[in-house]
Structure formats: C-alpha cells, structure tokens
Symmetry: C2
Subunit: 389 residues, 2 copies
C-alpha cells in the first residue's frame, strides 16, 4: 500500500500535536501576560481611544524591538501598507511591483492609491520575489525617462517594489536591494508576517525604505486588529503620524487639516493589548521555532513532503509552518483529509493575477508562483503547540 | 461694565458644572456597565479579532436600537462612510454633495472613492444642509443626461447627497428627501454624531438610503475606534459585510476574493466594548439631555448668547452642546477665556472649502455656513455632567 501525502502529513501531525489540542487551527492568539492589566487600566481611566499612553509606549517599544527609529501604529496592516505606499510617492496611474503570491492586502493597498499592481514571480526557496528574474524582466521591459522608470508595454511609471516576507521567511533582500538601486525604485517592505524574524542578524521588519507590519488576530502577536509603519526617517515618520490621524495641524482648538488624511490611528485599547503581547514576542517566537524544529525532524524522515525551512541568512519566526507536496492534483484531497482529522490546514493564497479584479494587470511569467500555489499547505502553527511540555 | 460673551458663558458654566469636574473637557467616555466583563471574556477566550460573538451581537443590538434591518460594524466611522459611498454607486470622477460645515471625515471619504466633494450651504437653525437653497441651486446648475444628474459647470456626474446631523441635531430630512427624489440622488446619511437622536419619533440614524455612525472615543458611546453602516436593504447589507472584510468568498480553505475589498472589520475586542456601551445609550442620552436643559435654562436668562436647541421634529442626543455668540470677532478671545477657566471648549470645524486640498472643489454660495463657523462654540457635554446629583 502506497502512502498518500495526507497519510504522511497526518502521521507527522499526530506525533507533534497533542490530541488535546485538536481541532488544531492554523494560528491561535495567546494571552498569558499583562493583557488584562493593561486593558483594564484603559477602561478604568477611560482612555480607550485616541487619548492614552499605550499608543506612545507601544510605538516606542516596537521601534526598539524592530531596530528602527520610528514605529507609527495604525488600525491594521492594510492601513500601514497603504500609508507606506503614499509616503514613498506612489500616485494614481502608477504601477507597483508586487509578487502574485501574496495575501490580498498587498494588491488592494496598491489600488487604494489609484495605482495598479504589476505582478512578478517568486523564488521557490524563499517564497518571496525572485530578484534575479525581476532584474532581467525590468531590463527588457522598462526604460528610464526623466528620472522615472517606465513600463514600455503600458507607458506607465513603475513607482516601487513591495517584497513580502511570506510566512516570516525573508526575501533575498541583498539582491533585491541591488535591483531596486539599479532601477532607482524604493522598497516598501510588506512585513505583515515577519515580526520576530531576523535577517543577517537584524530584525527583518527593519529592511526596506519603509515597512509595514500587522497585528491581526492570526499574527505572531495581536492587537485584535492593528498594524504599524516602520521607518528610520524622522520626516517620513512625522508625515506618517500626520496622515494616519486625519492630517490635523496641532492647535489647542482649531480644526485645520492641510492635506487628504486618513482615520488610521490605532485605539489606545488595542495598543494596550499590543504592549502586553510585545513583551511576549521573543518567547512566542522561541515556541514557534521549537514547533518548526519538531516538524522538520519528523518530515525529514520521508521525502514525500518538503517542509519549508528558513532561507539562508534568515532566522524566521515561522509565523505559519508550511509544507510543499509533490503532486498538485492531490492538494485538495489532502486538505480534506487533514480537516477530517482535526487539522484545520489551508493552502497558500490564490495568485493575485487570477482574481477577477486583477486579471488585466501587467505581469511577467509567473511559473514558479503557479507551482507553489498548487502545492503548498500551511500546518497548525500556534504558539501553544511549541511550548515545552 | 459691559459683560463680554466670555463672562456670560463662564457664569453659566460655573452654575451648571461642578468645580470637581474641572477641567471640563468636551466629551469624555463613561464605562459604568458591563465593559469589564465583556472585554475580559474576549481575552479569556482568545477571541479578540475576527472570530468571536460580540461582533454579531453588537450588529444585532445596534440594528434593533436604530430601527433598521442591518448594521455592519466597521473599524471607524470614516470607513463606514467610505463603504456607504461605494455601495451607493459613487465612482471615480463623480461629485458628491456635502455640507462645507462638517468634520473632515465627510470630505475625505468622498475623495477615497476618487470623487470630488461639492460643497453646499447650511441652515442656521438645524446647522445641516439647507435643502431649499440646495433645490434652487441644483435647478440652476445641473441638467439630466442619460439618467444622470450633471453639473453644468464641470460636466461631472453628481452621484449622491450626504447630509450630516451636526452635534446630533437632525437635518430637515423631509425637505431634503423631496429634493433628493426630485433629482434622483441617493441620500447617504452621515449620522456619526446622531446615535440616540430621534426624528419624527424614529431613530435619526435610520434615515437616508444608507447611513454611517461612529463610535470614536468622543462620541455618545465608544468602542475605542469604530463605526457602522446601517441599511434596510438585505443585498446592500450583504455587500457591505463582503467588501468590509476583504471581499473574500466563503470557503473552508480557499482564498478567493472577487472584487476590491477593504480591511474595515471591527475587532471583536472593540465590539465587546460596544455591546456594553450600547446597553447604556438610553441613560447616556437622558443625562446629556438633562445637561442641555440646564444650559438652556441658564442661557435663556440673557440674549448675548444663543444656545443651539434641537430643531422641530427632532429629539436630539445633544452629542455636543453648542452656543452661538453674536460677535465673530470675539470668538477666539472667548475660547481663550474659557480654556483659562478650565472649560476646554472648541469652535466648530473650519469650513471644508477653505482647506488647501478642497479649495478648488465646486461649491455654491456658503454665506450661512461662514457665519456659523465664526460664531459657534461647543460646550462641555460629557455624560457625567448631566447625571442627577
């Protein structure tokens, strides 16, 4: 009898995950620190909204943790990314280079600027943008004009590159930075999944000209919903704070707003939760890495399944553990078997360029992303599953 | 010695507000109900984000309270208004009629659709859109073409009217509805400030083809940050839920998104706070109306100051109590005196058409709004100030 991929995976999951933890969801939050103390203080003082000290405290601690000068909290990761795109000069009519293999927020945020996503392929190893393929593609399909990079096929300006650190694994930022410099494009790093990851011994979220992180309920740490913009530039940081808080000019009573702004601030209540969660980030990541090690050990015993490991130079948070199966035709039946056995696993996202609203966007050959999309499955990755027992 | 407006106002405030409540801010939240219990339950169960029962419960109770079939929670009032505009068919290149006398969110939300605010004047009595003046203006400046209302001066389509119920006081919705019908324009009601107000014995927030409310920290009830879309239309409600939650098509594992969507959902943590606050809405409004009655009584003793009372047919929540002084030149010195005496009062908002990003937008004569802007001052209006002592 031949083992199916489902048999192999379920066999490993049964060894790694306690039956008491089933059904095992993909990623559950954990509140084991000062969450209640801080949240209760918000309620007791009445400071739940725009007034209160947790926003400032969380911004300060987050910047420190991420090795950047400034963190500006936002209402969610999508808002952070939208704001980062604006701050890097993305305008209506521009194109923005993003991987087709990403969560929908990356593509949506580009459209909020009135810009168009320009989809590029992924690297099978890192799951992120293939920087070498991108370089060759840009060389053939773009030209410089008045200091702008123009897509020769559409005539539109290409305004930025948005690498996404899929599941917490770093893109090849060394090569990508070289490419970005060559074409004079800013890098807006979608680090929604990357908090707690390191790249060449520096926090991964600190890479890029600006970056955006997420504290959604399924992320390593959560604020219910939330995100942040990270930058080392004082002026950009001030501008980020300004436009995420309706672009109101400070005055003791007057309401002067000096540009189009957004209501993207994070409420103090959610920031209080974030402060407590951030205190536990390191132990959460340790636990998640321990879980990944257990998966790696067990999956190494057979070659029917590739467990996706951190790329060279990256110390990953293993936000979501993931495997790749060989036979794309078996993906859906595998997922069904996993669900039936109490493992609430997921495929990776549908490729952006296949969704109806993005089908006509510019794109390169996307063969590797296509293979990855058909064969990747995420495994249960909650912090609690990696605790020392 | 002649009394200045400041003398008159401070004299009244000293009678109405206990010195223990100074400095008296404009509007402070109050958490005296089940806030702790509900929020703690979120932390204990781990349901702080998109999973959890408080979002559904708050939507159900809010719809009931507002007398509509559906309430769809959003991350804030601006997000609710933006979504409502999309749902009512506002497109890039359109114009949307809004009062110039409003908070910045009304105008910003229009721009998020790629549309342009078209500013109209206010009624001195209701502070809302002057429907009769609007009717005359539209008669002279627009024409029908292929079922669309076209601004003859710009050639652009006028897509909707957005009345704003300033400080909780109802616009003249009877006349405005007649005008909207005449020109075949949908009414998107900006009811951010109107929760708990009634108009002709029905909840004010239920008026219009769709409406948006806010639970910002300074509103009658708060979720830290939050808002909601209200509608009686089943299809629009379903669409609202869809596009505020990234337009993901339900599936047990697949990620299909079928249109441009937004990350506008309210986290369960904030919805928990909202459930507790909504239980207290009626008593909060009673308290605020009691405070308004005290102000009315005291201000009636002199004619240097007009206290802005609820318009005919409206039972207002008196979200922010407001007065109008006669001499616009004395506004700033009056505000300074109030601040110096521990009353943290504010003027009304700067008129939208005077802000740099909206100076070139189409507009009618705005004389009444100009007078109101120069002479209105908001008074401390917190729930606690109206409690029975």
């Amino acid at each position: 009898m031949t083992n199916t991929p489902a048999d192999t995976i379920i066999n490993v999951l049964d060894q790694v995950i306690q039956s008491a933890d089933k059904p095992a969801h993909l990623h559950e939050p954990r509140f084991n620190g000062n969450e209640w103390q801080y949240v209760k203080e918000c309620l007791d003082t009445g400071w739940v909204s725009s007034v209160g000290s947790y926003v400032n405290l969380f911004e300060e601690k987050l910047a420190e943790k991420c090795g950047v000068s400034h963190a500006i909290l936002t209402v969610n990761g999508t808002a952070a990314l939208h704001t980062a795109l604006i701050l890097m000069g993305v305008k209506s009519g521009d194109e923005v280079i993003i991987p087709t293999l990403t969560f929908i927020a990356t593509a949506n945020a580009v459209t909020y600027c009135g810009a168009t996503p320009h989809f590029v392929d992924s690297d099978a190893h890192t799951l992120g943008i293939d920087a070498v393929k991108l370089d060759n593609y840009l060389a053939q399909n773009t030209m410089q004009s008045n200091g702008n990079l123009i897509n020769k096929n559409t005539g539109k300006r290409i305004a930025a590159i948005v690498p996404v650190h899929i599941f917490g694994h770093a893109c090849n930022m060394v090569t990508l930075s070289t490419v970005a410099n060559k074409y004079n494009l800013p890098i807006i790093s979608d680090a929604a999944e990357a908090l707690g990851s390191f790249y060449h011994n520096k926090p991964l979220a600190s890479y890029g000209d600006i970056s955006a992180v997420s504290f959604n309920g399924n992320k390593v740490i959560t604020t219910g919903g939330g995100g942040a913009i990270l930058t080392n530039d004082d002026k950009i940081a001030a501008h980020a704070k300004h436009i995420t808080t309706t672009a109101k000019v400070p005055h003791k009573w007057d309401f002067v707003h000096d540009e189009i702004g957004y209501n993207y601030r994070m409420p103090n209540l959610n920031a209080a939760l974030g402060c407590a969660q951030l205190e536990q980030l390191d132990t959460f990541v340790e636990s998640k890495r321990r879980l990944a090690e257990r998966y790696i050990e067990k999956f190494s015993e057979n070659d029917a399944v590739r467990f996706i490991q951190e790329p060279e130079g990256c110390r990953s948070n293993y936000w979501l553990c993931a495997i790749q199966i060989h036979d794309a035709n078996k993906r859906n039946e595998t997922l069904q078997s996993l669900h039936d056995n109490g493992y609430i696993c997921r495929p990776i996202w549908k490729l952006m360029h296949t969704l109806p609203m993005f089908q006509n966007c510019p794109r390169m050959d996307l063969a590797i992303a296509g293979q990855l999309e058909q064969t990747i499955i995420n495994l249960p990755s909650s912090v609690k599953l990696g605790l020392t027992q």
